[in-house]
Symmetry: C2
Subunit: 442 residues, 2 copies
């Protein structure tokens, strides 16, 4: 008999069906036993009255994998309004040991490190698997939004000859006897691919040898990268990002409703136009000194509060980041544009502010993006102005010799997005097998 999922049982009342899954919990009463079976979709209550089967249940501990054939009976008192009666049980997989913590309790009692040490079993708990379902749904929404806008998905190298973003925090490896590095981002490749497809995205792992042990950094995370050409400036990129975020949340609503309910998460709405403030205003709102070169986490939190109070928005753009704090490929603010301001302190006035932006989600930086340089001569000039050598990025810069349109893009950290969405205190709660300073297994 073909197996059905637990959630479909209400459509089978009065009929015989086969279900399968894990023994989630047994309640062995005197004359009856209740077996709660867990499958990918949910839980089923199986009523065992046969004394032989009841005796056998004693020997089938939690997490035993069973196939159960029985009759679907309506019962308002049962968790899902139905239960399985007159069951016949077939053993599919027996556990060798008991789980290190109880999976049937509403919340996992184990500490996060213990959960991570036993990820393969901890992730079976509905609260942990729910975050990963939300993650998958968000990525599906990301792709659907971009596919509908003629973006092409690309796959770029994760092993590179030189550090992409900066020389620091990079993992070195032995590549057939030569030094190589794990890519910190697909930045260069996605820009080059704008010359091919105009609009590209990539969903893939990026690697940061992050030496700090924080609740929001991972050594490997999933980056959702977007880059596209023929833009007027970074405002086109911000508009695209707005649509992508709305699409990701729509994807979560559509595909992961059950997971949201499990975690008690309500989705934020994305304003038709996300409010934005210039970096100089952001400092003022956050109560920071006017010559601060960057926003500290406390400033971001204050800005998150402000966006909520002033605009009723969980999202806030901060535009016009100082050039000094952005990578060399960042396009400066154009004189006369809304992002262009007189420099504070001794920065050169012309290039003080950039067409780079951050997006804060509930007071945490979620996305970095902006317009990039697209002229070969501008790349050479930008490196010279910073006193940085061309050589380490020569292959990258050379690719801009062949004619490139104005372009820009952004990168969303998937785990950070999901952790902010679900209210997870630690980004490791929403990664299946996190990697960090101390953790390389499982």
């Amino acid at each position: 008999m073909r197996r059905v999922l637990s959630t479909s049982l209400p459509t089978h009342v009065g009929r015989s069906v086969t279900i399968a899954g894990w023994v989630h919990r047994r309640r062995l009463l005197k004359s009856v036993a209740f077996l709660i079976l867990r499958d990918a979709a949910g839980l089923t209550q199986v009523v065992v009255t046969d004394p032989d089967l009841r005796a056998r249940l004693v020997e089938l501990p939690e997490e035993t994998v069973l196939e159960v054939t029985g009759e679907v009976a309506a019962n308002e008192a049962a968790p899902a309004g139905v239960e399985l009666v007159k069951p016949a049980v077939r053993l599919l997989g027996e556990p060798a040991v008991a789980p290190p913590f109880d999976l049937y309790r509403p919340a996992l009692a184990a500490t996060l490190p213990t959960q991570l040490d036993h990820a393969s079993v901890a992730l079976r708990h509905p609260t942990r698997s729910a975050a990963l379902r939300i993650s998958a749904a968000a990525v599906a929404g990301f792709r659907a939004t971009l596919d509908a806008r003629d973006f092409v998905e690309v796959h770029t190298p994760k092993v590179v000859a030189s550090a992409t973003e900066s020389g620091a925090n990079v993992f070195a490896l032995d590549y057939f006897g030569r030094p190589a590095y794990l890519a910190q981002s697909p930045q260069f490749y996605k820009q080059l691919m704008v010359g091919v497809f105009e609009r590209v995205y990539e969903v893939g792992p990026v690697f940061r040898a992050e030496p700090h042990d924080t609740a929001r950094h991972l050594a490997q995370y999933t980056s959702l990268d977007v880059e596209f050409g023929f833009i007027a400036d970074h405002r086109d990129v911000m508009a695209m990002l707005r649509d992508v975020l709305a699409g990701m949340l729509a994807g979560v609503a559509e595909r992961a409703g059950g997971a949201l309910a499990t975690l008690g998460v309500e989705l934020p709405s994305v304003p038709a136009e996300i409010p934005s403030v210039h970096f100089t205003e952001a400092l003022r709102i956050a109560g920071a000194a006017a010559d601060e070169p960057d926003l500290a986490p406390a400033h971001e939190r204050a800005l998150g509060e402000w966006a909520r109070t002033e605009h009723g928005s969980d999202f806030l753009f901060v535009t016009g980041y100082p050039m000094a704090k952005r990578p060399f490929y960042t396009h400066p603010a154009r004189p006369g544009s809304v992002e262009h301001r007189p420099a504070v302190g001794d920065g050169g006035a012309e290039a003080a502010y950039s067409n780079g932006f951050d997006l804060l989600f509930r007071g945490v930086e979620l996305v970095t993006g902006g317009q990039r340089l697209h002229r070969h001569s501008d790349y050479l000039a930008a490196l010279a102005a910073r006193g940085e050598p061309v050589e380490p990025v020569a292959a990258y810069v050379a690719a801009f010799q062949y004619g490139m349109p104005p372009h820009g893009g952004f990168a969303i950290g998937l785990e950070r997005f999901v952790s902010r969405l679900t209210g997870a205190a630690n980004v490791r709660e929403v990664a299946a097998f996190p990697r960090d300073l101390h953790r390389l297994t499982p």
Copy 2:
């Protein structure tokens, strides 16, 4: 004015539009000039009669990025039946040098190594970009097929503490002062996730320190990994693979029709049931000795011919691979099953053949898959029988202590799939930035 794509011009005849793209080719005649502009969708012919603009065109070489506003005129003689007249041109991005080879010719004249050295410009050629569009469409079809069957997408670690598939061909790296390795496959993780979601897939990079310089191996490639539980045996996995392949080809037909036309590729059809032969029959068909432990490339080619002639199929399953040639997690053929045969030579009869299979596509191994062991005690026994130590795979094996269903899966090499589909002689032709023994840039 909002920019439109070249392919939409027939719907704008008589109206003024703005297009943008790269100067693909100029034909400067005496009184008129033709400018062929290339965008992501195709080519547009722009007719230049104004002497000043004609003079300016001389200074705008191939690969210059332009925005052109003009009037759409029907002209049966023009390549797409329409052309742009009375153009006004705006320069968006000027090249610094000429491309190292002509992009406007029907075929790229440069050798493959030269193309790969200048990938950012070579990939602009329609024949090269077409393969990548087919690749993206195939992955979209892969996901759509599995999403419709309740699979959940996962993202697993690419940096691991020990080699997954075998100790050989693995890249070593320095992980915060500890030795670590690049994952050769998500095999272990996808199996563990069957315990969480029952059905999972992953699209991601895998790494093989392949010391041979062949036309079909890459040091990084994109692996399409599938794993699912509650199967009867590997035949359920083969049926799923059949549907996935059909879905990938449907995705290509739906999303990459233009790319197929560019390459002159006709899609194969996937039989409702892909023919399959047992390993022992495969040896016989290929004319190999009955005690050969594996199929050589020449055998695979012979089998591909046979499948085409005997079954009219581009696809052929070879089942019942010898246990000796499969990894320790492979499930042996069950006595009495169609895969179970008397062993040839001195192999132990019981465990001679496995529930592991390969799928050949046009005479080349495309997919490896099968049923896996799911009982903890079976893992320990399998390792003991092979004389392999538990320690290097202890974390993996330990995860099977907690109750796992019968399960199996497969992995498709994306670049290999696309190269067989398009008839590319070298897998490097269908990767954007291939990595191999000699190549680490661009």
